[in-house]
């Protein structure tokens, strides 16, 4: 039952990525080159909806939150590395799976490269662990908890801001 739920949610996610152009190399690269911001608008809108919905659930005690640990400077370095890979391949781990399924051969190679990169990370992990976890480890920090307030109080204005930005940014051919 839970497996089927995972499969159905994954299928809906994959369909949403495909239908909105997020699995298109062209759309991703044009967004990163700041030529066509459609994908940026899409991500801002998804986060805006997510922020409000997730914190509404949390307020009602219905959310299954899972916040990742903060470690600095490791997390910043990880983002830098990920960004380089993102620009070079033009896919992210999820959209590579979607693009591969649409017949994009280069996405198959991104997935293969990803499997190798993940494996090399797994093998190097005992050595990297010292760098990752010895300094600046703060645990699963969230903005609202560190300010001692309910998430919804921040999530509604911030979610609104994300949705407003998504609407205001220029899309295709706009900039």
């Amino acid at each position: 039952m839970k497996l089927m739920l995972g499969l159905v949610l994954g299928m809906l996610f994959g369909a949403a990525l495909q239908l909105s152009g997020a699995s298109s190399h062209t759309k991703i690269i044009q967004a990163l080159r700041l030529k066509d911001l459609t994908i940026i608008k899409l991500i801002l809108a998804a986060i805006g909806v997510g922020l409000i919905g997730v914190h509404l659930l949390d307020l009602l005690g219905l959310a299954h939150m899972k916040v990742k640990d903060l470690f600095l400077p490791g997390m910043a370095v990880a983002g830098l590395i990920f960004g380089v890979g993102f620009a070079v391949t033009g896919y992210c781990p999820g959209t590579a799976l979607a693009a591969a399924a649409e017949g994009k051969v280069d996405a198959w190679f991104a997935v293969l490269g990803g499997l190798c990169g993940a494996l090399v990370f797994a093998i190097m992990f005992p050595d990297l662990e010292a760098f990752l976890f010895s300094v600046g480890r703060y645990g699963p920090v969230t903005i609202h908890h560190s300010l001692g307030m309910q998430g919804i109080i921040l999530a509604v204005p911030l979610g609104g801001l994300f949705l407003w930005l998504a609407a205001k940014l220029p899309g295709t051919g706009g900039g």
Binding site: G14, A45, V88, V105, P126
Partner: protein, 179 residues
């Protein structure tokens, strides 16, 4: 090369954003936030466990990530659903097409297939190395994490976009040196 009709999205940005946001909300209500990149490690672990069990059992990260060397988990099925959903919706909207070299890449680096495939592999390698380093990817950190107001995800997403934009603009010759 992709023809324009394969690039043009069916959903406008707001419909796609709403759909992804709703998937996240349903996932958080029923199970947990969404994520993909861990499943690359799980697939590595399960496949290698078939051929080199002694090596895999000595790699603690694989052992910890893969629970019981099985792919029959909610998380793996979510990742498995992505290509199925993408395939079906591409077919249904008549946008399934096979190509090796994407348009933007061809315009800058030419139509050589080998070159594109090698660089896509290298990019994918760096991508998943970074994702595992940070403990998440675009879905797990950016969409799920920022929606939960997680500080780690805000840091990861900020440096990710910064470095991706700089790399893409440099790679695609937006700063002089255009060929």
């Amino acid at each position: 090369m992709e023809s324009q009709s394969h690039v043009n999205p069916i959903f406008p940005w707001w419909a796609g954003g709403l759909a992804i946001g709703i998937v996240l909300i349903v996932a958080v209500a029923l199970v947990q936030p969404i994520g993909v990149s861990t499943q690359y490690v799980v697939l590595d672990g399960v496949l290698l466990h078939q051929v080199l069990p002694s090596f895999v059992e000595q790699t603690p990260y694989l052992e910890e990530t893969t629970e019981g060397w099985t792919l029959a988990t909610y998380e793996f099925f979510f990742a498995l659903g992505i290509p199925i959903g993408a395939f079906l919706s591409a077919l249904a909207t008549n946008r399934f097409s096979t190509r090796v070299v994407p348009r933007e890449w061809a315009r800058r680096f030419g139509m050589m297939s080998g070159r594109r495939l090698v660089w896509s592999f290298i990019g994918g390698f760096i991508l998943l190395f970074g994702a595992r380093f940070g403990g998440g990817c675009t879905s797990g950190h950016m969409i799920s994490g920022v929606s939960q107001l997680a500080v780690s995800s805000l840091v990861f997403s900020s440096t990710l976009f910064g470095s991706a934009i700089v790399t893409a603009r440099w790679l695609y010759g937006d700063w002089g040196g255009r060929r």
